[in-house]
């Protein structure tokens, strides 16, 4: 079975160690959201996995093969950095062909897949940020890989393109491994199956997102009628009765209590993302 395995990996730049003794094993094709604040070591982790950085200690392996020393293993991995990494002076077609000539791949297929055909003869430098990002994503789809590393692929792009990119990744993740770094907690919950939390260069959490436990939930309740007597502990903020609960089960109890008390519920929304806690700790 194919798998990514990191064993006690420490890595960085020059003599500065950025990630410290990270160990994890990824064996199930899925989307793994790599979350962490700025400077946490997400990019360093990706650069180590794709074999650009040599670990100071430990080993990063794909299918049991050391990633730094094996070109073949590295060819199974696609890495999208936060830069577009495409020759700006070329047309979209030629920019993609530039990489296709080096590593193989089908440019026409990518143009179709990402609906880039109408941009094929446009100079890359003349594209909008969102269009550039789509072309940039296109280069990692030129040929099939097993593991996709994407460093904040939806930063600086509008919601429509973000969704397009996420949809492609969701499709890919059916039989491929996708590691996706993001600052966006809501995006992380929406797209990810697994959460890898990196903080101060250390692995703080690695499990299914559904297993993320939170200390408390803040829920906003919008109703058509006044329910202040039904919810004496709540605060009324921006049209919402805000209540704090210890668990989703307690939220269900509150809703039930409101309905039985005659409240006409319009909206129920989670005000804080449970992943927020990881940043606050």
């Amino acid at each position: 079975m194919q798998k990514l395995e990191l064993h006690e990996v420490s890595a960085g730049y020059g003599v500065e160690e950025v990630i410290h003794r990270i160990s994890l094993k990824i064996i199930e094709p899925s989307i793994y959201v790599v979350l962490g604040p700025n400077g946490a070591g997400k990019t360093t982790l990706f650069r180590t996995i794709c074999g650009i950085l040599k670990p100071f200690s430990g080993q990063a392996k794909w299918d049991g093969v050391d990633l730094f020393n094996s070109k073949e293993a590295r060819r199974r991995i696609a890495y999208l950095s936060h830069l577009n990494a495409l020759p700006e002076e070329m047309t979209v077609f030629n920019a993609l062909k530039y990489y296709a000539d080096i590593e193989g791949g089908d440019v026409e297929h990518v143009l179709d897949l990402l609906s880039l055909s109408e941009l094929r003869d446009r100079k890359f430098s003349s594209l909008s940020q969102g269009q550039k990002k789509r072309v940039s994503v296109g280069k990692i789809l030129l040929r099939e890989r097993d593991l996709y590393l994407l460093d904040e692929p939806t930063s600086n792009v509008d919601p429509k393109i973000s969704k397009e990119i996420r949809d492609i990744l969701i499709k890919l993740s059916k039989d491929k491994f996708v590691l996706y770094s993001s600052h966006n907690l809501y995006e992380a919950r929406e797209i990810g199956t697994y959460l890898i939390l990196i903080k101060d260069g250390e692995l703080k959490f690695f499990d299914k997102i559904e297993n993320v436990k939170t200390r408390q939930y803040r829920v906003g309740i919008k109703t058509l009628n006044d329910v202040s007597k039904l919810l004496p502990e709540s605060k009324f903020e921006n049209g919402y009765y805000v209540v704090t609960a210890d668990s989703p089960r307690e939220v269900a109890k509150i809703v039930n209590h409101l309905v039985q008390g005659g409240a006409e519920l319009v909206e129920l929304r989670e005000l804080d993302n449970p992943l927020q806690e990881f940043f606050e700790e």
Partner: protein
């Protein structure tokens, strides 16, 4: 089309000014090398003449023709810095290429451009020389020397400039000129020594070119040890 060929074409598109200047300089070198045809026959041997014009003009033009090749190939190094800052080199590393593979691509592109210009300038120089009645043996010597000095100099400058721009901490490529300074150092003895020992001019210059080529080749082959992959990151 291979990586180095694409790199060469991209370099040509990056800045046409360098190519125009390179061609203009090679024309200038050709004019200078053939100007001796217009010098009165006794001038070269005149006791009042401080230098041997018959020997010094061709040697000067070898330097100019070699520099024109360098100028012609400089955009390749600019492209290297541009690709480094733009994340292209990082992506190439992630596809499985290593430092040596990347450096080889840019060096090949640079040497190919230099070769094109040197072929052009030597054909041009020889044609003009034959037309003006310049000695055929002198023209052949010049062609050999221009190639030897030009190619070795371009090789050393290219590899030095790329190495310096990779090793510097700020990503602006501001250390590139150091590569030019190092690269043209071998040109000074190649220019001066033949004037001092005119009968051994070709042997001296070929020897300097061979040493420069060997040093450049050694640098290229050691690049994976000298420059870590992380040095090619933006």
């Amino acid at each position: 089309m291979s990586f180095w060929q694409v790199t060469m074409r991209r370099s040509v598109r990056l800045s046409r000014t360098y190519f125009i200047l390179g061609v203009a300089m090679s024309v200038y070198g050709t004019i200078l090398s053939n100007i001796l045809s217009f010098i009165p026959a006794n001038s070269a041997n005149s006791a009042s003449t401080p230098i041997d014009l018959m020997n010094s003009f061709p040697i000067l033009s070898v330097a100019i023709l070699s520099l024109s090749a360098l100028l012609f190939s400089l955009p390749v190094v600019m492209l290297f810095v541009y690709d480094k800052n733009n994340g292209v080199l990082e992506y190439l590393l992630s596809t499985g290429l290593d430092q040596l593979g990347i450096f080889k691509g840019y060096v090949k592109a640079s040497l190919s451009l230099a070769t094109y210009l040197l072929v052009f300038s030597n054909i041009f120089n020889t044609a003009i020389g034959i037309y003006l009645g310049t000695s055929l043996s002198l023209l052949t010597s010049m062609a050999v020397l221009t190639f030897a000095i030009g190619i070795s100099e371009v090789f050393l400058v290219t590899i030095s400039m790329m190495a310096f721009s990779s090793l510097q901490k700020t990503p602006m490529g501001a250390n590139q000129p150091l590569g030019v300074i190092i690269g043209i150092i071998p040109m000074f003895p190649a220019l001066v020594l033949p004037l001092v020992f005119p009968s051994h001019a070709i042997v001296i210059d070929i020897s300097i070119a061979v040493v420069t080529l060997l040093v450049s080749l050694a640098l290229l082959l050691s690049i994976s040890r000298l420059i870590l992959r992380e040095k090619l990151l933006p």
